[in-house]
Amino acid sequence: MSKFLTTYKTKLQNYWSLTKSLQTGLLLTTGVAGFMSARCPFLNWTTVLQVAGSLFLAVSGSTILNMWYDRDIDAKMHRTCARPFPTGEVKPIEGLILGAIISAIGVGWALSMDLLYGSIVFAGLFFDVVVYTLWLKRRTAWSIIWGGISGGMPILAGRAFGLGYVDWIGILLSLAILFWIPTHILTFSMRYRKDYQRAGIPTFPSTYGDAFTIRLIAASSVLVAIAITASAIGLGLTFGFLRLLAVLSFGLILLAFSSIIKPSERLNFGLFKYASLFMLSTMLVLIAQAI
């Protein structure tokens, strides 16, 4: 019995690590923030939990499918070689079935809640798994744009669910995520450059060099700040929340431009971490102003 429980627990832990809980959690937060930003009249915690649950399953499912497809390159990279697929802790067919079932439940749940909401959630999954991972990731460094578009779908879906239609603020918010993705992924691909080279994945640092990549990160940081600020003004955020967003955006831009002036590994890592904190804080601001 004890052995059975231990095996079961290990299996669950392996499945959990396939979901990339931090990344999934951040995307889920954007979806909830998008929904709550609509300040819709039927806002209640049951609906919020439904949004969170359906997004969690859809995002986790697509992440598992990505990991299943990328198991060969994960095995070549130091950073990812200990993941459950390369180590054999989860068999490929088992992961494929798990990912497909969780994705189907997530998208199905979303569609049952609202057709528009479900369609956008499905689009996010399609862009992420089919366009980004299966088609473009191994061919071009520009694939991150599709990763970014996919990353912007949860917030667009959440807001569209709250409103019943897609509005310009929802599009701006998803653009903010799209612009944020380069800050996040490009700093990451600079940090683990050798890993990506070993796996043969084209990245901006390896294709266009560090100087171009750092400038691109700075430009996208400015665009994130502009998109977030414009969305916040459109949402009618109070002056206090706008001040906080301005401060957080200033920090992001300051770090991005500091990395142009004096590039370093440490600064790059700081920018990577700060960008994640920035996005989380921004989403919490959107949630807080709606409560």
Binding site: G240, F241, L244, V247, F250, L255, S258, L277
Partner: protein
């Protein structure tokens, strides 16, 4: 360099949250320029706190720290003067801008005795204002009694500034390890004093 402990990170996180609260709601009662000035001060505190959490105490070795740590007392003092001493507001704004420019220029070029004197003058004036003005205002009844806590916050900024400044000059009052040990708690107490004082 001292390694940042979990407790240090928790204290800095609470400091960041309090600074965020001050930016969102804690300074709403003031007029526009003081709100902008206080936002700059607490904004720098918030971003600096986040960077300390992310990158550790090694952030303090950056030359930009001296400039940013000058902006905090200058902004706070500008906000106070603008709000409570309107006759002096333009004059002090000019002093703040010239003082900050002088600190940036002397820090990035000469770094000699002139840089120390400039820094001491600018910090000194701003430090005296943010420490004593709130006490005077609360004693003479211009503000509520608890506004004196703003002065406590100012005094704590002064202590922190002095510790870091002497450390940078190579003549530390306390050892580097000790200064870095007390810094997160000092920042938290300072921000808490402002929350109470502005509340």
């Amino acid at each position: 360099m001292k390694k940042m402990t979990i407790l240090d990170r928790i204290l800095l996180l609470i400091t960041g949250l309090l600074a965020a609260y001050l930016i969102i709601a804690g300074i709403d009662g003031f007029s526009t320029v003081p709100i902008i000035a206080f936002t700059i001060a607490f904004g720098i505190l918030l971003v600096a706190g986040l960077l300390l959490i992310i990158l550790g105490f090694s952030v303090l070795e950056s030359p930009i720290v001296v400039i940013l740590s000058t902006i905090i007392p200058l902004s706070l003092s500008l906000g106070l003067v603008w709000e409570y001493f309107p006759a002096w507001k333009i004059g002090y704004l000019v002093f703040a801008l010239v003082g900050l420019t002088a600190v940036i220029i002397t820090r990035t070029s000469t770094k000699g005795k002139g840089a120390v004197i400039t820094l001491a003058t600018v910090h000194g004036v701003a430090g005296v204002l943010i420490t004593f003005v709130p006490f005077i205002l609360s004693i003479n009844g211009t503000t509520s009694g608890r506004f004196a806590f703003v002065g406590v916050g100012g005094a704590l900024i002064g202590i922190g500034g002095l510790l870091l400044a002497f450390l940078k000059t190579g003549k530390p009052i306390l050892s580097k390890e000790r200064i870095l040990s007390v810094l997160p708690a000092l920042l938290l107490l300072m921000t808490l004093a402002y929350v109470i004082g502005f509340g």
